[in-house]
Symmetry: C2
DNA sequence: ATGTAGACCGTACGACCGTGCGTGCTAATT
DNA sequence: AATTAGCACGCACGGTCGTACGGTCTACAT
């Protein structure tokens, strides 16, 4: 009797499934997340996977949450080493581009690849994605404000406008990079952002 | 063996189908283009629709071509009224944002909404989308070069870099606008681009 | 020792998908 | 008038999807 199942086993299975789900969703889409494929990857049965979440929507929401944690670990966390303001803002942007190039998710930025899919389908899933996006841009704005206050950026800089300028460039770069598989695109955007925020 | 056939009927049906397909694809995705729904919308039978294209891939390629024509009519055509260089570049960018807001396609820019879907699935469809994208950015670069030559932009401006900066912002703005349904995003990007290209 | 909760499996159902087959129908060519 | 190409149809196939239910096993409290 070495193999026993407990609640902690369920959590481990859940986490393993979500790990695979977050990666799969960036390739197949959030709606294309199939129980069958997830079961195949994790070595479980379809119903075993299904039972752990109860519905497909719950699975999707949990997947979004998992992707958020990965994003925090891979991008936001490291950027917090830099002091608030321009430096941190720069680290956030470059960190984003790096995690795309590093293929943390096979289909690039999770939220970018999922956004265009859910944007035309109102509901809890779409709202959750929109919320995560807002948190991200909020973090950018926060540091843009600090940068202006600290005189690291021109005083007539509008933090909200700068945030939108940066965030749209980032997701746009993600998409263009994936479509053309050309790392030069990321490099160009990196220097563009460096220029924009001043050396 | 003389052939004369009744093209008109087939051609008309084909065009009606593609019209619906281009709109549908921006909502359901290129892969989510279902024969059943297309048949339902156009009032034809599933097999009638299928027979006109022969395969789903052919339907997808034809849909991309149709979307290209719509984009040319709605965005590129009007922008050609402006003289080459900075003015035309500006008209192209603003025209793009306008066509998104005007909901020429219900799911925003056709190519943006389709790019993230096909980018992870190599093949003719993905290549076709990438080609169209390249034509679009090529048009931007062309006018950026003219603008620099004409002294409408700083002489140290790199046309390729400017193109990437603009094109990523445009598709990024499209996605953000659709996700949050907030027209202010488009306005902000409009002024950002105006600022970037100088008044 | 026993009861119970929850993880997990096997199987099945209904829906929807893309794809073919066989067949009228229309209209241009003969 | 006869022929014929090809548009459009109804129908049915095999496959995959999400979902549901019943059953089995394990861990833990009692």
């Amino acid at each position: 009797m070495t193999n026993r199942r407990t609640r902690s086993d369920g959590e481990r299975s859940r986490d393993a499934i979500l790990d695979a789900a977050a990666e799969l969703a960036t390739v197949e889409g959030l709606d294309g997340l199939s129980l069958a494929r997830l079961a195949e990857v994790t070595g479980m049965s379809k119903s075993g996977v299904f039972g752990l979440f109860g519905s497909k929507e719950e699975l999707q929401l949990a997947t979004i949450d998992k992707a958020r944690h990965v994003f925090i670990t891979e991008v936001i966390g490291p950027a917090l080493e830099a002091p608030p303001g321009r430096d941190r803002l720069l680290r956030l942007c470059v960190g984003y581009l790096d995690h795309v190039e590093r293929r943390v998710f096979p289909g690039g930025c999770f939220f970018a690849s999922v956004a265009s899919e859910v944007s035309s389908r109102p509901g809890p899933v779409r709202d959750r994605v929109a919320d995560e996006q807002k948190q991200w841009t909020g973090l950018l704005t926060e540091n843009a404000e600090r940068a202006v206050e600290a005189g690291q950026l021109p005083t007539d800089t509008d933090p909200e406008q700068l945030t939108l300028e940066l965030s749209t460039m980032l997701t746009g770069a993600d998409i263009a990079y994936l479509l053309h598989e050309d790392p030069a695109i990321l490099d160009t955007i990196r220097t563009t952002i460096h220029d924009r925020l001043g050396r």
